[in-house]
Subunit: 347 residues, 2 copies
């Protein structure tokens, strides 16, 4: 498929480009009044995520409003446990909550593997509708949570500062933990392949809770499952974002994926050295820079762009915060395009 | 002053020792029934921290019960803002709350510098009483929050996942931020010197929120103030623990302090290389390992001990979690002593 703007895909293929592509984590939702209007119409976060017409509408908003170089499907990483038979609720300000959690081998056994159209048809349909609405302007990013992060929610049952129940599970019942991680991985592979069939052009894995594991636990319980997913996904480029997993960068560099995401605590130079020359790096402005005035915002964006080489997808180091002004988000996108054009002209 | 057990002090001076010293962050409080009894008598966390007789009692408990090689004064990093004229409240499960926060230059101006006996006399008295109760069995560690962490609470007003208000302050009002950080630093130096006069033998700086800053922000707003404190404290050894600040390890290695604390995401070998040969390293077992059974706990402790060289103070990578069993905490201490004795015999 060809796109009016394919700079993200060309960058992911390692081609030289006229500037760097830019998108923002959490660009669909949170900061936009246009999003909140649709969210209100839906009635709840989960209703919005499971109504393809509305989910596709908010997915396209940031392409129209911010001029980002890609859309990312509006959804939630926790649809995977939902699709496997472990439903969750979402509470305003408090986040997700699982009425039942996974604790035993029998609990793992009771979960089923995901058949994308059967169990998560609403995501597939949202992707198809989004592709129609985008009319080939920009590519669409699909995503899933990495297995460890999904495991953490399924065993802890809710968000947590320490995820100490989830981590205790790893130390207390490693065999059952691996069985659950294996099942999540198989489901995730099926789910991501479904997203490709439905129209996703790029896939991102979010390992949001990577940084609370020790390096050894990460190598035992997280990395092998990410590797299995990367190996199974051949048809579109894959971006792996393991938040706070500074210790894992050299290992991520060896994965068969196109790009590695960085948070703002990971310096570009160090990261390039650790990850190696071939991967595209994505990131990594501190979202709090978007609270700065225009002059300081421009200065910080320029510094960030100069710290990376040209194999770079511009993004924040984490999602937009809800109280960031849309004008500042747009300024980030515009500035990244403008300054990276100047930088690439000189390269 | 001489102690029956001075292995912590000898290790901090760089001497060869028969085994490694061990203590645990949050050893005073949280997991002990004996602590909860005193806490109940006090009526509230703040009442306990501000009643020297009771604070000294809970400080000594882990020496008696766990056999750790040092006591650490039971107190709170937020007594510094309190002492500067910014009072806080503490809510069960929700944590600290500042009814008024610092937002303007006038707010900074209105704060006063700490005179330890005048503003934080209850801590000084708790240290003196603790020293009596310890009867020179082990040394006493005093502590303070690092200036950035104290700044974060004073501007954000409460705990936060992102501390986005505190970080926005740095980007929006850097000059006022530096004025506040300067004032916190001066107060902290006076406070720590007061702790030494009262009897503290070792001091630890806790930079609990170090890891949410970008490397550049850390070097601008956090590190210089820690350096000022280290330079001002000459009489006792200093331990600097900057949680999650993996990117700052090489800089921490250049501080005039005796030891650097590590969390469990920081590998011992990498950290030694980054920090340099002269510093003692402290840490870094994942507290969640204390949920494991005895066999796995011993295995993990041994692995951790072997990953460090002998310039090592054994500790957890963060504080004990409230639901960890005291028996497991004691097993950690016993195992660390036993295995490190074997390791040092062979060295």
């Amino acid at each position: 498929m060809t796109y009016q703007n394919d700079i993200l895909l060309r960058t992911l293929r390692g081609e030289k480009t006229e500037r760097r592509p830019v998108w923002m984590m959490r660009q669909a939702g949170r900061v936009l009044a246009e999003y909140r209007a649709v969210r209100e119409k839906a009635g709840s976060f989960i209703a919005l995520a499971t109504t393809p017409e509305l989910a596709s509408e908010v997915t396209v908003q940031p392409v129209d409003i911010f001029g980002v170089d890609a859309a990312i499907i509006f959804s939630d990483i926790l649809v995977v446990p939902e699709g496997m038979g472990l439903p969750y609720e979402m509470y305003e300000k408090q986040g997700p909550f699982f009425p039942k959690t996974i604790q035993t081998a029998a609990d793992v056994e009771a979960l089923h593997l995901i058949e994308p159209e059967q169990h998560l048809g609403y995501v597939m349909e949202a992707i198809r509708l989004t592709k129609q609405k985008l009319q080939q302007r920009v590519p669409l990013i699909g995503f899933a949570g990495a297995p460890w992060t999904i495991f953490a929610y399924m065993t802890e049952g809710k968000g947590s500062k320490t995820f100490s129940k989830a981590k205790a599970f790893l130390y207390q019942q490693p065999t059952i933990a691996h069985a659950l991680l294996h099942k999540i991985t198989q489901s995730t592979i099926a789910y991501l392949k479904g997203q490709i069939v439905a129209g996703a052009d790029v896939l991102q894995l979010f390992d949001s809770w990577a940084g609370i594991l020790s390096p050894e636990s990460y190598r035992t319980f997280a990395l092998p499952y990410i590797a299995q997913i990367c190996e199974a996904i051949k048809d579109v480029p894959m971006i792996v974002f393991a938040k706070d997993a500074h210790f894992a960068r050299a290992w991520l560099g060896e994965l068969p994926c196109a790009a590695v995401g960085l948070d703002w605590t990971m310096e570009a130079g160090d990261s390039r050295r650790l990850i190696g020359a071939d991967k595209v790096l994505q990131g990594n402005l501190d979202p709090c820079v978007l609270y700065a005035d225009e002059t300081n915002l421009r200065k910080e964006v320029e510094k960030m762009l100069r710290s990376f080489d040209s194999k770079h997808i511009v993004n924040l180091g984490h999602g937009l915060y809800p109280d960031i002004s849309p004008a500042k988000a747009k300024l980030f996108v515009d500035t990244a395009k403008e300054i990276s054009t100047e930088l690439h002209l000189r390269m």
